[in-house]
Symmetry: C2
């Protein structure tokens, strides 16, 4: 992990760009984070394209820093400045054509859109987690927050260091991820936009039902994909404060 830039933001939050091998990423740490008082970490998901998503991600990271959390994100394979994938480009072109033609998006296309990205990116998130937790100013517990719900599901299943996840039910989910969802056992806070034009509401409700977690909350708000109200961000922040604050972690789990 190599830091390539460092910027001081409001309230003493430090924003650092980094590369992990060929993968670009960003780390935000609160002013309070130090080797003697390391900050818990939130891995922040997104749909791909760090440059385009930058200001929204920074806003969310600043909110988390106010609660004492470090936040980190990495670019997805095939997105942003990373080499494009012919397979992914083809799947996205097929999706556009299907939607334009008013045809249903079938399981085969959803699998092609999502599964290769999950397979390729989850080990990268785990490598990033290794590198981030090696920094003296960062420590567990670790949360996963946000976009690309299938990546969140897989991470929650395979990565025991993830202690809680705030997921956004706003994208296509392959059928096999419903099976993986049954094996998820960490606390979940799932956000759903009730009138999300690009999302299947019933599938999102079925997915919430499938999660195996003993503590899970679905928060559905009126509005489309990009209309998440400000108070929903506050509620998600409180979810992480409940589950990632050091005092909230049972002995042996932190």
């Amino acid at each position: 992990m190599h830091f390539t830039s460092e910027t001081l933001l409001d309230d003493g939050v430090v924003e650092r760009e980094f590369t992990l091998g060929e993968i670009p990423g960003i780390l935000w740490t609160p002013a309070s984070a130090s080797a003697s008082a390391p900050a818990p970490l939130i891995l922040m998901g997104h749909p791909g394209g760090l440059r385009y998503m930058r200001s929204r991600l920074t806003g969310r990271a600043l909110r988390s820093a106010a609660d004492g959390f470090a936040t980190a994100t990495i670019e997805l394979p095939g997105s942003g400045d990373r080499p494009p994938s012919a397979q992914a480009e083809q799947a996205r072109a097929d999706l556009r054509r299907t939607i334009t033609a008013g045809e249903p998006v079938d399981d085969e296309l959803v699998d092609r859109l999502v599964l290769p990205l999950v397979e390729a990116s989850v080990p990268e998130w785990q490598a990033a987690l290794n590198a981030l937790l090696a920094l003296p100013e960062i420590d567990g517990p670790v949360g996963f927050s946000g976009g690309f719900i299938s990546i969140g599901i897989r991470l929650a299943t395979v990565e025991p260091r993830i202690a809680a996840a705030g997921l956004f039910a706003g994208s296509y989910v392959p059928r096999r991820m419903f099976e993986e969802a049954r094996r998820v056992s960490i606390p979940l806070h799932v956000l759903l936009q009730w009138d999300d034009e690009g999302n299947d509401r019933q599938a999102a409700l079925d997915l919430f039902d499938a999660f195996g977690s003993q503590e899970k909350t679905l928060q559905a708000n009126l509005g489309g994909h990009t209309g998440v109200p400000a108070f929903a961000g506050e509620d998600a922040a409180r979810f992480f404060a409940r589950h990632l604050s050091r005092a909230a972690v049972p002995a042996g789990n932190g």
Copy 2:
């Protein structure tokens, strides 16, 4: 309205029992409430039986008082110390028999269980509202919170002084209330227990979909009817703080 008892609770909250004609009720006011600084009011719904529900209702009222709100509730017709209704007793007996026999609860029975209570109780809640708002230490805006969702729907439709409602989707809802729900336009916070044994989850989701409000949030939590987690109460309290705090009310609406 005649006050029949007065008790000082923690944090200076005053609990007063009252009667409004033959209807018993309880009013909780925060220490801050006075003629020069009147408190906004939350009408607190419940399934009937004030004596049985007392400690839970007091807990919720104390929470609201901490946010500066007065809270009031009245007994439902035919419940608690009020004269029983032969019609309501018959409907409840039919419900017990239907559930014991494992038969579906049909629309006719739901109508008999709920509609007479809505018809009889909503004018009583409005009379209570008149009496409460006449007290110098209480003023608008007014919220409705809690149980018996059909009463909340009807009040939100017919009573313009109700500015926001926090509803609990945990009881049978007659089909005609879905039509009334379309005419509801105030901000809503709807709580659903995902595994409520006595509630139809799909009907609750359909009802949430039907509400005409431009701001509406559904919060679904894992667990049965009585398993509402503590943080859900906190989230509901923040909903009211957003919508009933004097600063949050647009000019002409307070």
